[in-house]
Structure formats: structure tokens, C-alpha cells
């Protein structure tokens, strides 16, 4: 009798550590410190949603109105917080709706773990209802992906997914989980992943190349730093600042690097690239040593490659060996995590200033100010400009807001004129240029930094690509500030048509709905500004609000963004008008 009873309890305790695959997924998320995820349910992921229901007190699931929104929200969250963003979707259309977000996260190195449901193991390959080969589809746009077909694989694969997403050069990971693996039971225990035998997240810095780089920097007469998101991802903002100050080097940023160094730092000379600042673009082709830090020489940055900085010795600080010599030849490559490599090189750098060289940047800025910036942010014409809206937001937010931009003219203007005091404050779709990114990304950004103001700057076109996410803002009362800069056009494409297609405005003119009424339909407080006299006070009013707020600003319909490096032109051929 006694032994039988003992056996029974033993069985029972053993049973209690046996849980379903679906529940195991929740425990994995909790073990990774996840308390928030975005997603959309459906047949193949229902067992996991059933567990989410039970774990509501520990894990908040936000139902976006489209899976693309879930992916972008997770990106926004990851980009402001530096943590892994999590998105979930069902099989088939749910999974394919994530793809744009995956591609965006892949090209902008954003750590995501996306979980998709999949038809049961036995049905794989049978063209079952909502079966799609999401592993095949997502392979080129993920850092790693894996199909789980057995419940017992879940802990190890989830641990690996988080490790891979956030280590080294971050990126999106997709885990596809067949329905049987969600239902079946496993003996659960979780060990975080600390290494994968075939994967080296970051190269070990090489002292010899650091010395060579230091020599080049110390002997440079006209050194120039261009940094990218690698500084933010590597948490190397302080090291960058020390390098810039100690060596006295003018420094510019790529769109993804914005906010890593205070916008008003005297040595911060602005943005490089197609719509970047005049000086940094022009002087890229005059510097003698170009120090690229955590950036990848995207074509929007380099313009015509054959004429990019050919006079300069190039030093490339980079975590991803595949980026070195990919587009621009590096005379010295310093491989490794930016915080580590910059930290190591700092003591080797001589204190210096390059005043006359820095003065050339200031002169060029003055030229740009007089011909472009002044008219953008202090216009004298009647119509409102995008630039003055951004300037008012700078003033009303004391440059402390997170600025999330969509894609188009407003994005370029937003990134040119928004001022930042804090890192991780500029959230935009840089590499993929995904219209529709901003509204969901702003939701994620706000939830990843509840103590900060989040302002989404969106065009009338892109806004309508993910406008349904207003439902999330309303339902959860997420206090983001939404500013639609309405020019009644797909402005950036219209600008190209004006400049390069003889003003043939093919499909770029839009008849828009009443955006204020739409926001009101979602019970979001809304205002429209069409005249300058109302702009400042309305923006101040918006920024003072503790609630979500929608503002439509009717801007000039046919303004252009300048300066501009026409595609195919060299950085030094940058046009001021």
C-alpha cells in the first residue's frame, strides 16, 4: 500500500513538470524577461494564445490590427529599449504578413523574435489550410529561422532564438512551431543560450589594426568621422563622444546613427546621405582620413561609389566582417563590437583639435542655412513647411522626445531637423524604407519607453498603410503623439517626378479622407492646423496632453527636400536646389 501511494505521488510530481509546448513557449518568454509582445491569433497558434490568456498578469499581449503592425511595433520597442522585440502570428497569411517587418528588421539590424504557428507535423507539405512555407519565405530576411516540430525542442530553440537575435550584429529570428508541438507535452527546463558552436557573434579586436588606425587618426590633417547605428547597438555612445572630443574630429551620422551624439554637440556636423547636410557630404570627398564607425556604406550614403572618398584613407570600425570591403575599400578594418574597439583605441589617440578643418564645415553649414534651412524652418511664404513643424516639436519637447518617422519627404525633413539629447531617439525605417512603419513602431516605442514622449511624424500616404493601428492606441490608451504632414501627395515620389520625369505626376496625387474625423472615430483627440498662426500653440497643446493625440498639419503640396544627391551622382555633386 505504502509503496503504491509513494509511486503515485512520485508520478504526480513528475507530471507537474510536464507541460504543453504552448505553455513552454510562455515560460521561455518569461525566462527571457519578456513582459510584452505583439501579435494576432489564428488557428495554428491558438494553443499559445490559450496560455497567454492564463498568463495575462505576467505577459501583456497587444493585439495589433494587422500582423505587419505587430512586427513594426516590436521593432519600435526594440529600437528604443535595446531589448528583443517579440511578435506572434498564426500560420499562412498571419506569417506572410510579418514578412515586411522581418525584412525591415533584417536590413536595420533590429533584434526580434517572431513566433509563428504552423499546421501540424503530419500535414506539412499537404497544402493544408493556412499552410505556407514561412521558413522558405523568411530565410533571406532573417538572421536565423527554425521550424519546431517536436515539443521537446522548444526550450533549446527559444533560448537560441533570443541569443541569436540580440548577440553580435542583431537581427530578426523566426521560430515556426507546428501545432502538434504546441499541444504535446515535454519535460520543461530552461537554460539560457550562451553560445552556438558555429557562430561567433563578434570578432575579437586585433591590436595591430587598432594601432594602425590610431596612427592614421593621429597623423590626419583633415579627419572625418561618419558613424552609424553600430554605435547605438554597441552602446558605444560615450566612447564615440570621447573619441570625437579627444581627437577633435568633425563627426557626421547616417540616418540610422542619429541621436547617438547630442545634436548640438559642437563637433556634430550633421547627416550624410542623399538628403543629408551639405558640408558632411561635400567634405567626404575632401577629408584625408575617413573614420567609419558601425555603418555599412549604403548606396544612399555613398552616392556614386567610384567617386566616394577616393582621396581618403578609410578606417572601418565594424562588427560584421562581411561588411568590410563590401562597398568601400577599407585601408584599415577594425573588427569588433564598437564599444570594445573604441574603448581600446581611445588611449592611443592624441589630444588634438582641427579648427581650420572644422571651420570649413561651419562655412558649408552657413551656405546650407542661407539657401535651404532658413526657408525650411523659418519660412516667409504663406504655406506651412514640414521643417517648421519639426522645429516647433523640438521647442515644445525640449529636444527630449523620441521621434518616429515614416518614409518619404517628411522622414527626410524629420531626420534633418529633429534635435536629440538622448540616444535611441530616432526611430525610422532606414534600410528598407517601409511606408507604414511609423504608426505601429511608435506604439512599440512608447511602450518601450513609457517615461518618454513619442512623436510619430507620418506622411499622408504612409499613414494610410497602417492606419488601422489607431485601434491599438485607442484600446490601450497609448499616449503617442501622431503628426500627419499632409501634402496630399506621395511627396517624395512626386519630387522625383518633378526633377527627373518632367513633372509627369503619375499616381502621386491623392484625394485624402478627413483624417481628423477618422481619428475621432477612434476617440482620439484630434486637431488640424492649416495656418501658421495656430501651429505653435497647437503643438504645445499636443505635447502637454497626457493622452494619445492626433494632429494633421496641412503643408505645402509641392515642396521639395534639399539638399539632394541625385541617384547616381557623387556626394560632392550634392545639389542645394
Amino acid at each position: 500500500m505504502e509503496t503504491l501511494k509513494e509511486q503515485k505521488t512520485a508520478q504526480k510530481t513528475k507530471k507537474s513538470i510536464k507541460i504543453s509546448g504552448a505553455e513552454a513557449i510562455i515560460h521561455c518568454l518569461l525566462a527571457e524577461g519578456v513582459d510584452l509582445l505583439y501579435g494576432y491569433p489564428g488557428g495554428a497558434i491558438m494553443p499559445v494564445y490559450d496560455e497567454l490568456y492564463k498568463f495575462q498578469d505576467k505577459l501583456t499581449h497587444i493585439l495589433t490590427r494587422h500582423e505587419q503592425g505587430a512586427a513594426h511595433a516590436a521593432q519600435g520597442y526594440a529600437r528604443v529599449s535595446g531589448r528583443v522585440g517579440v511578435a506572434m502570428a498564426t500560420s499562412g497569411p498571419g506569417a506572410t504578413n510579418l514578412v515586411t517587418g522581418l525584412a525591415d528588421a533584417q536590413i536595420d539590424s533590429t533584434p526580434l523574435v517572431c513566433i509563428t504557428g504552423q499546421v501540424t507535423r503530419e500535414l506539412l507539405g499537404s497544402d493544408a489550410f493556412q499552410e505556407t512555407d514561412i521558413i522558405g519565405i523568411s530565410t533571406p530576411v532573417t538572421k536565423w529561422n527554425y521550424q519546431v516540430t517536436k515539443a521537446s525542442e522548444i526550450p533549446e530553440i527559444m533560448a537560441k532564438a533570443f541569443y541569436i537575435a540580440k548577440s553580435g550584429r542583431p537581427g530578426p529570428v523566426l521560430v515556426d512551431i507546428t501545432k502538434n508541438a504546441q499541444f504535446d507535452e515535454l519535460d520543461f527546463s530552461y537554460t539560457p543560450c550562451t553560445g552556438v558552436r558555429s557562430y561567433k557573434p563578434a570578432p575579437t579586436p586585433d591590436i595591430e589594426s587598432l594601432k594602425q588606425a590610431a596612427d592614421l587618426i593621429n597623423s590626419a590633417k583633415k579627419p572625418f568621422i561618419v558613424w552609424g547605428q553600430g554605435v547605438i547597438l554597441g552602446k558605444a555612445e560615450q566612447e564615440l563622444k570621447e573619441l570625437v572630443e579627444k581627437a577633435g574630429i568633425p563627426a557626421a551620422w547616417t540616418i540610422m546613427g542619429a541621436s547617438a551624439l547630442d545634436s548640438e554637440h559642437p563637433l556634430n556636423v550633421g547627416m550624410v546621405g542623399m538628403h543629408g547636410n551639405y558640408g558632411p557630404n561635400l567634405l567626404t570627398n575632401q577629408c584625408d582620413v575617413l573614420i567609419a564607425i558601425g555603418m555599412r556604406f549604403d548606396d544612399r550614403v555613398t552616392g556614386r561609389l567610384e567617386d566616394y572618398a577616393t582621396q581618403a584613407k578609410v578606417i572601418h570600425f565594424e562588427i560584421d566582417p562581411a561588411e568590410v570591403n563590401k562597398n568601400v575599400h577599407a585601408d584599415v578594418a577594425v573588427l569588433g563590437n564598437s564599444k570594445e574597439t573604441l574603448g581600446l583605441i581611445l588611449p592611443m589617440i592624441n589630444s588634438k583639435s582641427h579648427e581650420s578643418w572644422h571651420n570649413i564645415f561651419k562655412e558649408k553649414y552657413q551656405i546650407e542655412y542661407d539657401t535651404v534651412i532658413k526657408n525650411d524652418i523659418h519660412p516667409t511664404k504663406e504655406g506651412l513647411t514640414m521643417g517648421e513643424v519639426i522645429e516647433e516639436i523640438n521647442l515644445a519637447s525640449d529636444q527630449k522626445a523620441v521621434i518616429v518617422t515614416d518614409v518619404g519627404q517628411h522622414q527626410m525633413i524629420g531626420c534633418r531637423y529633429a534635435k536629440f539629447k538622448e540616444s535611441k531617439s530616432n526611430i525610422t525605417s532606414g534600410g528598407l524604407g517601409t511606408m507604414g512603419f511609423a504608426l505601429p513602431a511608435a506604439i512599440g516605442a512608447k511602450m518601450g519607453a513609457m517615461d518618454r514622449e513619442v512623436v510619430a511624424i507620418i506622411g499622408d500616404g504612409g499613414y494610410q498603410m497602417t492606419i488601422q493601428e489607431l485601434g491599438v492606441i485607442f484600446q490601450h490608451n497609448i499616449p503617442v503623439k501622431i503628426v500627419v504632414l499632409n501634402n496630399d501627395h506621395l511627396g517624395m515620389v512626386r519630387q522625383w517626378q518633378e526633377l527627373f520625369f518632367d513633372r509627369r505626376y503619375a499616381s502621386t496625387v491623392m484625394t485624402n479622407p478627413d483624417f481628423v474625423k477618422i481619428a475621432e472615430g477612434y476617440h482620439i483627440e484630434s486637431k488640424r492646423v492649416s495656418e501658421r498662426k495656430d501651429l505653435k500653440s497647437t503643438i504645445q497643446y499636443m505635447m502637454a496632453s497626457k493622452n494619445p493625440f492626433f494632429l494633421e498639419v496641412k503643408v505645402e503640396k509641392e515642396d521639395n527636400v534639399f539638399p539632394m544627391i541625385p541617384s547616381g551622382a557623387a556626394v560632392s555633386e550634392i545639389r542645394l536646389k
Binding site: G136, P140, Q147, G195, R197, S198, K200, P321, A322, K326
Partner: protein, 175 residues
Amino acid sequence: MKKEWFTISVYSENNVGLLNRISGIFLKRHINIESLNVSKSEIDNVSKFTIVVYTTEKWVRNIVGQIEKQIEVIKAFYHTDDETIYQESALFKIASNLLFDERQIQNIIKESNSQIVTVSREFFILAKSGRRYEIDEMYEQFKPFGIMQFVRSGRISVTKDEMQISTLLKEFQHN
């Protein structure tokens, strides 16, 4: 830059999706894979892809960088033809009556250094290993008599230099 033949050797984990991941890297760059072979390698549980491409060194370097970045890839190398020892294999299926009717056939077999794998009443199978041009030559010789079936494998190759995968693996494990 001029185009050349390169052999890419990839040491990797043996994972379901990896072939797709690797071939996608070529697809994205619109570069054709001329030949592909997957096999085990000198290390237990490590697979080896041998991929032949005809492209410029700039592109092969780019591709190898992208391949090496994949999580399950341990290491990837590229080599020119002079740096490797390489071969392909081919099978020829030929009607048996030719053996008796055409004297020339026996000469081709002897000269080509190929082996007869099997002979039946209807057909016999010849196996030939060697350089691509040797196999092509043999193919041309048989062609006038009629080849019932022909197949040629992807290139397999080993390098003259050491690849040091075991050391690398140990290094990874210590990280």
C-alpha cells in the same frame, strides 16, 4: 575585374534549411551556381558544401562573407583552380550491343580510364572520374554511337592548404 572559376568550400552544421539559406545568397546576387555538392567532411557531424561559381573575385569574396555569417556555417573558403585538387564523376549508360558491334567502343573505354560498373544484356554502365574536360571528351566520343543516359556530379575538391576547421570548432566552443 575578370571572371574566373572559384570553388567555395563551406563547413557547416547539418541543418534542414541551410541549403536554402546558402543558395538564396547566390539568388539575391543573380549569380549562378555552376555545380554543388553536399557531403560529410573530415570532422564528425560537420557537413561540407562544395560550390563552383564563375564570377569575379570581388563577388566571390562578398558571397563567402555572407555565407560565413549564417549561424550554422562554421567557416567558408574560396579557392581558384590552382589551389585545389578537384574532380567530378560521371555515369554513362550505353547499349550492350555496341560493345560487340563497334570495335571503337572498347578503345574509348580503355583510353578513357573509366570503369565498367555493371553489364546486363541490354546495357552497361561506365563510371568516370576526372576533370570536367576529360568527361566532356568521353561524352563527345560516345555521342555518335548513342548514350542512353548520362549524369555528371558536382565538383568535389580538396585544397592544397590546410583548412583548420577542428581548431576553429574548439575556439567556438571555448567562447
